[in-house]
Symmetry: C2
Subunit: 149 residues, 2 copies
């Protein structure tokens, strides 16, 4: 279905919850209640987001998580990459050599261009955009361009 994993979707919800109060430190427990998921699941997401540098973690009593940057400076692409690794529509479009028959694949370079278009689409939407309920403000369009190879 060409979809992002469910965990990634959850991660955007958690990030959106964090972005609602970017300055405060939120415990995993609190976020769990907000997004209505199981605690271990949320915990795993948070750990992964933290190790990707998108959020900061504080241990001990009254610890928790907080956005590492302003919501405007965190993109959906950041979240997707944190959860699923580099964006690559085909085996070899992320890095060369991973696909076993690259030699006789005439469409590789074009997939790479498509790949950039997708990455651009995801990079063009910030976390701040995600928490705006109605996108009227954004001129009703996300212009994207793919710089040719």
């Amino acid at each position: 279905m060409l979809r992002v994993s469910k965990l990634t979707d959850y991660a955007t919800e958690v990030m959106a919850a964090l972005a609602a109060a970017p300055a405060r430190v939120h415990s995993a427990q609190e976020l769990t209640e907000r997004v209505r998921l199981e605690l271990p699941t949320v915990s795993k997401l948070l750990k992964q987001l933290a190790s990707a540098g998108l959020i900061e973690s504080f241990r001990g009593v009254n610890g928790g998580y907080r956005l590492a940057r302003a919501p405007e400076r965190i993109s959906i692409a950041d979240i997707v990459i944190a959860m699923e690794g580099p964006i690559g529509m085909t085996e070899c479009s992320a890095q060369a050599g991973s696909c076993d028959h690259e030699s006789h694949c005439g469409v590789r370079v074009n997939w790479q261009r498509i790949n950039q278009a997708i990455a651009g689409a995801l990079a063009g939407v910030s976390l701040a955009d995600m928490i705006k309920p109605s996108p009227r403000r954004r001129a009703a369009s996300i212009p994207l361009r793919v710089v040719g190879a």
Copy 2:
């Protein structure tokens, strides 16, 4: 990794091989040699592409497959949809109701917009584009727009 399935990648290669001689009928055997895959695999791809209406099939001796439309009128989105079903980045962005906790998911509508951006990116590249080795001709950009919700 947010990637298209390997079969889908293969499908684009097979389609590209067909597009190299759009008027001729190609047997599965011939295409197998071209893309260097196993015959049963290629056969499965072709069947699926045929039932999606992207290619026409001819049975019997001297049978085979042929593009149903001109390469310019077949997009990557067509191929992806034929192989993986409707494009939906999240459970519910393809059709509502599939996600169990849509009620308290504040990011749904925004994912839908992203979804449209991705679909647009895939729809904007035709099979004819894929077989051009260098994309200089296409003004070095694929402009995309997402009409706001």
